[in-house]
Subunit: 198 residues, 2 copies
């Protein structure tokens, strides 16, 4: 039985790392940046083009500029569609963890999917952003808020859901209890929902 | 060490029952309707008055009608304030589980609090509402949506937060995996956050 765990995450919450640890514990594939290689393979786009347009926020006016033709789509819309198609292809062939890219919404009609959302208190996000991404501590809060606003815009544009609204996911957790601890709790939920073992 | 678990919950999600089971497993007090007895004891209001004005949604215009005097408050505002004071008193004296009444927000500056939000898929909420509250199946979806809209209005009025937004809580779960299963996952989170044992 194939199963997929999707991870939505606030910037600085450790969501990507939590996803990686989950995949290791369950001996399944982990897709974050590595999804882009698959997108290149499936779509024919070059890596630079995919990278540049990955998880890009859309402008409000994009709602109105689309006339139903593929040629009318923006570069980020084309890449997003290629990503969504790749996510569906992956979900049909293997169990895995997928970070971001509206994967929860893309796979909403698939069986055996567990949708997770990870967030954290601002002070913990700042600590992580400074430590792991080398961001200036004084500017960290502003950068984190901006990045998360962009993630919300991107998600809300492509789905008819609201990024970070609890009921859009199976389980949402504040990772401030610790990365390993958060992984343990998610594993328990996954095992209960899908009845699988590590 | 005293600790408090607060439960926000969608109508029909089993949140109240999950809270009761959590309290049993942790051998601590459970407050839902029983909170009202404490409110009567502390406030001097009679039970009928408290019951009638418990968790009542506020009108948008209530924001503007308040002139800073206690006498200007509506009955539901007076009861809500009495409830919030009672919740604080309880939190200072014993460990417990408290359902609803904005307890997460009321206790936001208290240590050792775990805020939980419970929701479920509409089909599961309908099943529970029909089975446990004897609601007509045809009208169930409409009633559930109305009740949850009221809970959101009540919460959003008294807090500067958004009911059901993941980051307002420590952990949010879809209880469709089962009541006992949801209790188990929450217990693990609580134990990891507070380092307590059953």
């Amino acid at each position: 039985m194939n199963y997929i765990i999707t991870i939505g995450r606030e910037y600085g919450s450790g969501g990507r790392y939590i996803g990686e640890e989950l995949a290791k514990r369950l001996h399944i594939h982990f897709y974050d940046h590595s999804l882009l290689e698959k997108v290149v393979e499936h779509s024919g786009f070059c890596m630079d083009y995919v990278k540049e347009n990955d998880e890009k926020k859309e402008n409000f006016f994009s709602y109105f500029s689309f006339n139903g033709s593929y040629n009318d789509l923006s570069a980020s819309q084309k890449v997003s569609i290629a990503e969504f198609n790749t996510i569906k292809k992956i979900a049909e062939t293997e169990s895995c963890v997928i970070v971001g890219r509206c994967a929860d919404y893309v796979l909403k009609d698939y069986p055996n999917v567990v949708n997770v959302f990870i967030y954290a208190k601002m002070e913990d996000k700042v600590k992580r952003a400074v430590k792991y991404y080398g961001i200036d501590e004084k500017k960290a809060e502003e950068i984190i808020m901006k990045k998360n606003k962009m993630r919300a815009s991107y998600y809300n544009f492509y789905t008819n859901q609201k990024w970070g609204k609890a009921s859009c996911y199976d389980i949402c957790l504040d990772s401030s209890i610790g990365i390993c601890e958060t992984v343990e709790v998610i594993l328990q939920y996954v095992q209960k929902k899908l009845q699988i073992k590590e």
